[in-house]
């Protein structure tokens, strides 16, 4: 897996209602700010309102139809808003009512097998696409801030995983088995770099 690191150089703008980066270091309580909830990867909430005694009484509060391909992402929950994805799409919806707040849609080529979710940092969201681009969105309105190519979709690369924020950096990997694609000199060199353990690509980008 190729691994790219994006340095978050400039502090983002005011984020009174965005995600406080300090929340990423704590066990999730009343929020789910990363794909795994927290860095432990336990995917466990310490909230106690729902337990083995009352789980059977839960009922449907609302349903949201994406009219899209299979929904495979883990929603983030930050300040009462859910952020989740399908290939080509990101939604922000009200966790209480299920009403949509915004939708970002970017039809792309590449493998649409699944999309696992977004990462959030302050007032920004990070989203991997089926043509192996990484997109930065404004969490307030879903407007695109930047779009960079992480890998070449012509060699079968795509992004299905959720990015991870660590110490002010976005970490993203690609999926795609190159063995079924014709190998060019360029891709061979890239493989070699990975085998040597060298950082094949380090991109710095303004966030």
């Amino acid at each position: 897996m190729n691994c790219f690191v994006l340095a978050l150089i400039a502090a983002s703008s005011l984020c009174a209602q965005g995600l406080d980066p300090a929340a990423l270091l704590k066990s999730p309580v009343g929020t789910w700010p990363t794909y795994n909830g927290d860095y432990s990867g336990r995917r466990y909430s310490t909230l106690t309102q729902i337990d083995s005694g009352n789980v059977a009484s839960l009922g449907l509060a609302w349903a949201f139809q994406t009219h899209s391909t299979a929904l495979k992402s883990t929603p983030l929950e930050v300040n009462g808003v859910l952020y989740f994805t399908t290939p080509d799409n990101v939604w922000a919806i009200d966790a209480r009512s299920g009403r949509p707040i915004w939708r970002y849609n970017r039809p792309s080529q590449g493998d649409h097998i699944g999309q696992r979710g977004v990462a959030m940092y302050k007032d920004r969201l990070y989203f991997g696409t089926t043509d192996a681009h990484l997109i930065c969105l404004d969490a307030r309105d879903g407007k695109r801030i930047w779009d960079i190519e992480v890998a070449d979709v012509q060699f079968g690369y795509y992004i299905s995983i959720a990015p991870l924020i660590v110490k002010g950096r976005v970490i993203i990997g690609t999926s795609g088995d190159q063995s079924t694609f014709p190998r060019s000199t360029r891709s061979a060199e890239r493989q070699r770099d990975l085998a040597l353990g060298q950082p094949s690509q380090t991109r710095r980008s303004r966030v």
Partner: protein, 256 residues
């Protein structure tokens, strides 16, 4: 609710046209309207004409603001019972059921008349728009219409008649729609939030605050006040007479 009325009207109009197109027949007159037609001809037609199009003494009721704004006799019935002495109309003694028939007849006449209006607004004859009196429109603008409370011909309305085509200009002052409502929400802890109203129903209220963030609350847990900058426009829809609309439009058309 009131804002939906024109939409409802046009949908009804389209359905009406579709029904006519499919069946190739005129819409059938409801029985109450048929009874009302006879009653109207006997007691009202002498002044208003047998089809309510206006007569020697009485005005055209198809274009009457009272008839247009009536809901199941809410406005028409009191006029029939009490008359309009200041305008020379006597009270007409009539039973409730006969009044209901007359009301049904007048609403039927509106429906019939509207169906004959041009289906395509582009085919609307502009000459029928330009029949107002600009001087009277100016009096309405600063007087009964209270337009001057928010608007000024030298500021926000300067050049508006050049900016918009006549039909667009009329649509915009009758049914403006591009100014969002705002809301101020006070939480139980006393925190206050103001912003553009994003959503509101009986259960939840949501705004976009001044920094662009979405915030929502259950209505039962907060106090809130919604401000609609267009409320005065909607209120005017209940007050306008046909002459007011044409005169005001004629005045706005002078803002070149």
């Amino acid at each position: 609710m009131r804002a939906c009325r024109p939409v409802t009207f046009f949908v009804a109009l389209l359905i009406g046209i579709a029904v006519q197109a499919c069946s190739g027949e005129e819409l059938s007159e409801p029985a109450a309207a048929t009874r009302g037609r006879t009653q109207f001809a006997q007691t009202c037609g002498f002044c208003h004409g047998p089809d309510a199009n206006g007569g020697s003494e009485g005005p055209n009721l198809i274009r009457s603001a009272i008839v247009r704004h009536d809901r199941n006799g809410s406005l028409i019935a009191p006029v029939i019972r009490d008359g309009r002495p200041q305008k020379g109309m006597p009270s007409i003694p009539m039973s409730d059921s006969r009044i209901a028939d007359v009301v049904a007849f007048l609403h039927w006449r509106l429906e019939e008349s509207d169906l004959r209006s041009p289906a395509n607004p582009r085919e609307y004859d502009l000459k029928t728009l330009f029949t107002g009196n600009a001087a009277a429109g100016k009096v309405f603008f600063y007087g009964a219409g209270e337009c001057g409370r928010c608007h000024s011909p030298s500021r926000d309305l300067a050049g508006i008649a050049t900016k918009y085509a006549p039909t667009d200009l009329q649509a915009r002052f009758l049914y403006p729609s591009d100014v969002p409502k705002t809301a101020t929400v006070v939480t139980r802890s006393g925190a206050q939030f103001t912003g553009e109203l994003f959503y509101h129903d009986r259960f939840n209220i949501a705004i976009k605050d001044s920094s662009g963030w979405y915030r929502s609350w259950p209505c039962a847990e907060v106090k809130f006040q919604i401000h609609d900058p267009l409320a005065a426009h909607l209120e005017l829809l209940r007050k306008y007479t046909e002459a007011d609309v044409h005169n005001l439009f004629a005045y706005l058309e002078t803002f070149k």
